[in-house]
Amino acid sequence: MDNYISGSEALIRSLIGEGVDTIFGYPGGAIIPVFDRLYDYKAQLRNILVRHEQGAVHAAQGYARISGRTGVVVVTSGPAATNVITGLGDAMMDSTPLVVITGQVGSSLLGSDAFQEIDVIGITQPVTKWSYQIRSAEDLKWAVPRAFYIASTGRPGPVVLDFAQNAQNEKIEWTGYKKCHFVRSYDPYPAIDETTIDKAADMINKAERPLIVAGHGVEISGAEKELVALAEKTGIPVITTLLGLSTISSKHPLFKGMIGMHGNIAANIAVGKCDLLFAIGMRFDNRVTGDVSCFAKNAKVIHADVDSSEFGKIIKPDCAIHGDAKPILEKLLSKVSENTYEGWLESFVADEKLEVEKIIKPELEPKENLTMGVVARKVAEAAGEGAVLVTDVGQNQMQSARYFLYSHPRSIITSGGLGTMGFGLPAAIGAKIGAPERTVCFFTGDGGIQMTVEELGVILEYNVNIKIIILNNNFLGMVRQWQDLFYNKRFSSTALVNPNFVMLANAYGIPAEDVESKDELDDAIARMLAHDGAYVLNININPEELVYPMSAAGAPLDEILLSRDERYQK
């Protein structure tokens, strides 16, 4: 048997060796050898042919976030490589494991401004966890296993392998794929310092008004059960970040809502009132903290994270626990005492009632026009337990996240850190491919869907069954909201002249309908969910609808707008 194979073939065998069965890719001159070899491996490794390289990365992100597996992207050099940058930035911000392989001109041409040559390593370094240029096929044996190890462990992130064309063609001796399980300069799961566990347990046991803030890290670590167990044993209420929303069931009595700019009133008020904030797997984004100087000002802070550079980056913790969320929660569970906090929990009720009365009820029981909230809630209820929310960015994101219902882990996929419009459609496609058994409900805006609308072609080609709900306000709604509230209603460049979305969907073979009013909604949702395949609802939303509650950017979290002219009374 011939043990000598080309670099391209070695790459494909490596991917298979790593357990990859699906990649998201788009061919081009500098990566043709890889796609050529792929032709022979179609049964083991299928390529989802996206319609734009940005779509490839977002699809791989959706795939990775729903499944916990590393998303793989294969694209060509130059313009394809620059097209992946947004997705890399997004994956970097939202800690998503990706291995992105870009083609590159041959080594001898590097640095010569050859056709479709771009300095991929230079450009991607700031938006990747690691990037490496493969200049000879031998390098593959070392770099590919390492790429997967780095992308998927510790705080996950995107890795770029820039694959020079000569290395794709070179022959090397192949003796099988060897996974990487150690990198000297990188320790993804450092041993947890028991003294920090003891200290944290002690702080938890002594607190009078403790509060847990759970973030994406809990999901990444697969620590949802442990989180709930800790909350239940200690009786401590849990709030989550946007990305942490599905780490605990929306219906759990200890779940008190989402923190942040458009978070729940009771949750944000509790942050100011608590005497202990236990933050786990979250990084105090400014959309979460508001004015940092007022954040959790009465609280001691325990910060648990796998990335130690997060400690003190924004908030100085009184106790930092460095490690993976799951073992941290397990260790803590045995050291915390059983407790209940009746008085403390009672203090949430008034704010919860206030939010229901002032914001949630009007949103869910609109008098005339449909609201984003009622659509999201009705879809969630009709889709039932286990449904997944994928969102785009803007008002549609905030409202669908607020009103969707989460019952299972890994049920929200949204662009948090980078806030990338256009993320949603490809991410929803990737999510469905990563978990075909789950119902994927994708909420988007009339603006955002047009940023990556070409990916409808993937739905057409591969029959991807996702439910697409366009919350169409004919505006760049979230920007309009800021113009409305803070820029004197000068609606500069936010009104959209939109295509006929139903016809657009139909052009891709996707059934679609317009929904104009309340009484059409339930039936339309039922038809959408009953249809065996992708379906689009283009829902007419009043552009005047704003997302409330809102703590303005940079303002203290507890300075909350309930409407244009009503503020929360502290």
């Binding site: 700031p126 000297r184 300069s185 550079s309």
Partner: protein, 194 residues
Amino acid sequence: MENKGTLYTVTVFSENRVGLLNQISIIFTRRKLNIESLSVSPSSIKGVHKFTITTYTDHETVDKLVKQIEKRIDVLKSFYYTDDEIVYQEVALYKVPTVQLLDERNVETIIRKHNARILEVTREYTVIEKTGHDNETEALFEELKQYDIRQFVRSGRVAVTKSPEEYVTMYIEERAKQKEEAEKQWTKTNASNL
């Protein structure tokens, strides 16, 4: 005048990998920190490179900076020091016209006084070398200025710690042990999977 802050010496120990300097320097750029001096060399440990970088900033910023640097995959360890924690040196070279030395007996005195030395003399120019802290190399510059310095260059700072512990060596030994364990673990789980 703007307060420049304290001068910190940041040391970075890394694997010998292409592109690391770029990765490290963009971390300074993102935090709007100016690199005052930089030197890169092999360290006492085979295959490990050492970057020595000086920058003016405050304690909080340098603390965060070093964490961000250490987060880069190929970086082994990074530390920061104030001047009292390290022994450090810089080298400066001064090129002056040789006639100045012949005409001015004073130059010789200056060289002696500053403990500098002459590296090379030709008919046209003389190269003087001074090793010391930046205030010392600057002091010599000030005195030589009147004799028409044609070229002047100062190296980046090089520094070693005063601490008796060699943290990087310890870290690398520790990691070597962990590697062995990881490998054992690996063969065990793989064997059970067969």
